[in-house]
């Protein structure tokens, strides 16, 4: 398809020369080493969490934080979103800001307060582990033992 509108075609937008390519490759490998390092740290902490006595909340923030670091490197560097125009960045990332806000509210207000307090009442059977009892047996189960 030919568009004669004076807008640069894909080729002129994307082509780069040998020297520029060398620089880009250097950045790619740098990002690779960062991602590998982060993954190894995650594995080490995951492996040692119990013996180091790390708290659950700390681990949650630690792992989710490092995950977001890795995700940012993939999206901004490998997928080149960092090089796109600002409008495209906001168009693609904006919806996820809404999602994250929703999740924060759900964890804090919804599931966090209501279901956690109720879960023993609702699921007495689960506390009888290892047996997973039939669903019909939980009537009358009103308190956690």
């Amino acid at each position: 398809m030919e568009f004669n509108d004076g807008y640069p075609s894909y080729e002129t937008m994307a082509i780069h020369d040998e020297e520029h390519g060398k620089h880009i490759r250097k950045v790619i490998w740098k990002v690779f080493w960062i991602m590998l390092g982060v993954t190894l740290v995650e594995l080490l902490v995951g492996f040692k969490a119990e013996s180091w006595g790390l708290g659950k909340v700390f681990l949650q923030f630690f792992f989710i934080g490092l995950t977001i670091v890795k995700a940012a490197y993939i999206v901004l560097s490998f997928m080149h979103l960092g090089d796109e125009v600002k409008a495209l960045k906001w168009t693609l990332l904006g919806p996820f800001i809404v999602l994250v806000l929703y999740l924060i509210f759900m964890v804090d207000v919804g599931e966090g307060n209501y279901a956690k307090a109720r879960r023993y009442v609702m699921d007495k059977n689960v506390t009888d582990a290892p047996h997973h009892a039939p669903a019909g047996n939980n009537e009358g189960a009103s308190e956690h033992h």
Partner: protein, 241 residues
């Protein structure tokens, strides 16, 4: 300076076709918007997983106890194999982005080489996942007694491993989420391998050399990095937390 659209100006009026909006080609935009919707699908799956896990937090199987096998090794090393899988997928993402970079220099043979390595990395990952599933499904030799539904009657049975109905390691819902989410991701990886292979054949045939640019490689590259991106989240929520 960026090799991409950052330096080009977007025309004020792009309605009515012709000029692609947002300084990126139409093909890339289509891929981006598909990936946004796909990311929401995975968000939904992982959110449901998170709620269930939060609800049954005291009875949730410890992933380190479930996934501790390593090929050709009899002992138990928690998380090592999934760490290796993560490495394979990150590595194949690197070879993919190197293929895209070579495409921007119109180097057919380099693109072909990196594409091929990406496909091999993808196949290795899918194979690793099959092995992980095999271990989870077959379970331990000792097994565990669980109250399960057999022919319409609940009864205590010695079971090994997990499927969609029961789970030796704990709550059945853990297995359900594991199979659905890693299965959905694994199918994405498999699709990516197939798509990459088609593009690889076109690269070798010289289709894109004739066209003068390797935009298709960049588009499948976006998809492939997305698969890696999803795995980063699956890895954290299933294996680390």
């Amino acid at each position: 300076m960026s090799s991409h659209a950052a330096t080009t100006q977007v025309k004020a009026n792009w309605g009515g076709g012709g000029v692609s909006p947002l300084g990126a080609s139409y093909g890339k935009l289509y891929m981006w918007f598909f990936l946004v919707s796909d990311a929401f699908t995975f968000s939904g799956l992982l959110t449901a997983y998170g709620f269930m896990r939060h609800k049954y937090t005291d009875f949730w199987p410890n992933p380190g106890h479930v996934f501790h096998h390593f090929p050709f090794y009899e002992g138990s090393i928690p998380l090592a194999y999934v760490g290796l899988m993560t490495f394979i997928l990150i590595m194949s993402s690197v070879t993919m982005v190197l293929a895209v970079e070579a495409g921007h220099r119109n180097k057919k043979n380099e693109v072909a080489k990196w594409m091929l390595l990406t496909i091999i990395g993808g196949l290795m990952f899918v194979g690793s996942q099959a092995w992980e599933w095999y271990n989870f499904i077959s379970g331990t030799a000792e097994g565990a007694v669980r109250n399960i539904l057999v022919d319409g009657v609940w009864q205590d049975k010695l079971i090994h491993g997990a499927n969609l109905q029961y789970n030796e390691y704990g709550l059945p819902v853990f297995g359900d989420f594991f199979f659905f989410i890693t299965g959905f991701h694994g199918f994405h990886v498999f699709s990516g391998v197939v798509i990459n292979f088609i593009i690889y054949v076109n690269v070798v045939k010289g289709t894109y050399e004739k066209r003068g640019h390797y935009e298709m490689v960049e588009k499948v590259g976006l998809y492939w990095h997305f698969v890696d991106l999803v795995w980063v989240f699956v890895f954290t929520f299933f294996y680390l937390l």
